[in-house]
């Protein structure tokens, strides 16, 4: 019997080794730079606090697992039937009030400790007062893209949120007001903070104060329809100078370039403008993203692909190539119109 057990344990260990090797192979040969949104690489106070709290909880639950799991392993080994022919019954024990009390009180004590620690953290993060130096951004979730409004600057950014670095000495956190234009979405950038849902008819809020510059990825975390998976999200944490320059650019009206007038004509006559805004032109649609500074963004279609001319043209020709079921219709433009409108949009820096 024991030999059989050992064989099984050995077999499963072998299995695990194979899988581990497979995994190492994958990580070693993975192509391209990785940007993993791990909750264990925090870059902002809420994410850092959660990280610390999680280590505390992991320690307690880990200790419980080792203790109880250890007892179980001991019981399985020590009290297994030895020999098929041993059919005498063991001593019957029906219970013990003292033992029951002991293993009721210990979990109660653990719950008290965990609850108090957790409650403290809830209040610290959720009820943190907003400093005067904070930046306000209104986030509006749409079926499958993000709108970021900066009321102080009059900016409408899309899919790529720019926020200033927050120096712990003189913090400039960003406070997000979360709304939805249609169904429930959820704003989640794991390295910056936990997620908060965006509900229609309801205002939620959250805050971040990133301590390191860089780009942080995230995505919608509440199933919101066909293309929920490609409602990706990027947060760019800029130095104050970079942020200021970005704001200045975003505040400009759209670039006017006579050489692409034909493309602009296509845009304004082929119902593109029913859904999109380009500041300073006749296009004032609100259903789709603002395209005034389209080329200042790194990605298209809420992170579905890189923003370059080829992708942009294909996206306009047939949105389903990149994002099947997205709400942007294919407008049946001919090749010439496609070239023209792509050339026009490519000037919108």
């Amino acid at each position: 019997m024991l030999a059989k057990w050992l064989k099984c344990v050995f077999l499963s260990a072998k299995n695990w080794c194979l899988l581990l090797a497979l995994f190492i192979w994958h990580t070693a040969f993975a192509e391209g730079p990785q940007s993993t949104p791990s909750i264990y690489a925090p870059a902002s106070t809420p994410a850092q606090s959660i990280y610390d709290l999680s280590l505390f909880v992991l320690t307690i639950t880990g200790a419980i697992f080792v203790t109880v799991g250890g007892v179980l392993a001991f019981v399985v080994f020590r009290f297994r039937q030895r020999g098929e022919d041993d059919t005498t019954e063991p001593a019957q024990i029906y219970g013990s009030t003292q033992v029951e009390l002991a293993w009721t009180v210990i979990p109660i004590l653990i719950v008290v400790v965990l609850f108090l620690t957790t409650a403290r953290m809830i209040f610290a993060i959720q009820d943190a007062p907003q400093p005067k130096s904070a930046l306000d951004v209104t986030v509006v979730g749409h079926q499958f893209w993000w709108e970021f409004n900066y009321p102080k600057y009059g900016i409408h950014a899309v899919n790529e949120l720019h926020v200033p670095l927050s120096d712990p000495q003189s913090p400039t956190p960003t406070y997000l007001k979360l709304l939805s234009a249609d169904v429930i979405h959820s704003f989640w950038v794991p390295q910056l903070a936990g997620k908060t849902d965006l509900l229609p008819n309801n205002v939620n809020d959250m805050w971040i104060d990133p301590h390191h510059t860089g780009m942080y990825v995230g995505q919608c975390a509440q199933f919101c329809g066909v293309q929920h998976a490609k409602m990706l999200l990027r947060v760019y944490v800029d130095t104050p100078q970079q942020f200021e320059a970005w704001v200045k650019n975003q505040q400009q009206k759209a670039v006017e370039d006579e050489s692409v007038a034909t493309g602009r004509h296509v845009f304004e006559t082929q119902s593109c403008m029913n859904c999109h805004t380009i500041q300073g032109t006749a296009a004032t649609g609100r259903f789709g993203p603002d395209l005034t500074h389209l080329m200042s963004r790194d990605t298209l279609a809420s992170g579905a692909m890189a923003n370059n001319k080829d992708n942009l043209r294909e996206w306009i020709r047939h949105p389903d190539t990149f994002k099947e079921g997205s709400l942007m219709p294919a407008m049946q433009l001919n090749d010439q119109q496609l070239d023209q409108v792509t050339a026009y949009l490519a000037t919108l820096k």
């Binding site: 899988l19 497979l22 995994f23 994958h26 990580t27 192509e31 940007s35 993993t36 949104p37 791990s38 909750i39 809420p46 606090s49 959660i50 709290l53 999680s54 639950t61 799991g69 179980l72 019981v75 399985v76 009290f79 039937q81 059919t87 063991p90 001593a91 024990i93 029906y94 219970g95 033992v99 029951e100 979990p107 653990i110 719950v111 965990l114 609850f115 957790t118 409650a119 809830i122 009820d127 079926q143 979360l178 249609d182 959820s186 390295q191 936990g194 997620k195 849902d197 509900l199 008819n201 939620n204 995230g218 975390a221 199933f223 919101c224 329809g225 066909v226 293309q227 998976a229 099947e324």
Partner: protein
Amino acid sequence: MADSTYPIPGSVEAPHRWSQAAVLEWLNSWVITVDHKKLGILYMLYAVFFLLVGGAEAIAIRIQLLYPHMHFMSPQVFNRIFTMHGNTMVFLFGMTYIFGFANYLVPLMVGARDMAFPRLNAFSFWLTFFGGLLLYYSFIGGGGLYGAGNAPDVMWWAYAPLTERAFSPGHAPDYWALSLIVTGFGTIGASINVIATAFCMRCKGMTLMRLPVFVWVNATASGLALITITPLTAAQVMLLIDRYLGGHFFDTQAGGSAMIWAHFFWIFGHPEVYVLVLPAFAIANEVIPVFSRKAIFGYPAVVAASVGIAFVSLGVWAHHMFTIGMTSVGNAFFVLSTMLVGIPTSIKIFNWLGTMWGGKIRFATPMLFCTAFVVQFLLAGLTGIMLSVAPWNWQLHNSYFVIAHFHYVLVGAIAFCVFAGIYYWYPKVTGRMLSEKLGKWHFWLFFIGFHVTFDVMHIPGLLGMPRSIYTYEADRGWTGWNQIVSIGGLIQGIAVLIFAVNLIWSYFKGKEAGNDPWDAWTLEWATPSPPPAYNFATDPVVTSRRPLWDIKHPDDPDWKYE
């Protein structure tokens, strides 16, 4: 081994075998039956069938997630498949296996000749049956937005306003709501029946404190089902009113509330988890003592903890909503109530350990499944504690960590106990043992596959991978983890196929079981295998919690110690 022929005096003879009846008459007898044992078998066949269907859907999901930007399915189909996987496993497998076991075993265990309301019993099963058919008819029925059927594609919790007509113009939410209203009524009927049978049909001497723990826990789960199905049905009716009669309960474009739906759903949805898992505990409560050769440790504490879990579970629903924007005080309240669930559950785990302690544990297949269940349920509880820590939940919610956690409950606890229960009671139901050899293969493959899949699945969640996405980006560092998870899923699939083969093969070729193959102690083992119609010719009389122990050990009966 003790002599295993201890029929209660006056048991009727075993009926003639099915093969002797004409096929049509035989089929007819299954359709018109009001016999609790036949209905129990029907429930179990239905549950196992949908376990296989839901499992196939899971495999399809795992194939789609093997590589970033994989195109095994379109996003539309993927969304339907994962929604149906959830609905199938919760409503068509989960909610039916519990009544399979309860129907077959509760009357036998309390020494009754049938359920309290045999006709209601049949009616409830057929409601559930046709509700399930209606849900699956959605794949072929109706034109739908994409012309490819109308299977629900709004997740199993069907959050409003995505289900409103503005965002779901086809009939997907209609199929979801209507079919689950129908199965819901089936559940209510079956629950009333289990409660009435457990409390009103007990044989002489079967006081409440002598009721087998299995019966206690099933009655508790049924009571909980009665309470929780109601808000779900109400919400589904409101949704249909919104969609077809111009109501605005959840229609946010006309001032409705998306949050109210979430409250309605989760006040059903969380206790529902306990409706599903308590009957699994019930199975473990029978299997662990018998294979440890000891009485259950701390019977009153086990019963009290089970009922306690049911009570506390009614006050924890909003821990599914920590990210929806409740106040800090609201969040703190639900942190506390959720953590409180940990107390009765840990009492249960400790009592199982106490039962095994000092025993002579026989590791036959049912006990292997139950031992693995105890470890896995412990781990599921601990990840549950992690999720109850609201700030950490803000990170983990709707990530693959949550998926791993609740599959630890639904597979690691429930499916393992269901397998244990089937290996344990199959001899009683069919008169033949399931093959131990295939059983061991089934167990070890399933155990390994389970851990490859669901241990690893926690990791992409910690790395920021949200649930219900049909594809993911290549640069996220999730690819390798997803592939390991998929491989584990395949191993589990093979194990379940071995199980299906075992069920069929053993039915014809299995070893004859006899009345009492496990040398067990509850009343069902006092009847022939399979038990005759109406179970007992004369009402049995019991004097303790383990009537058969008393008969087998007249020198050391239980009633002396109660």
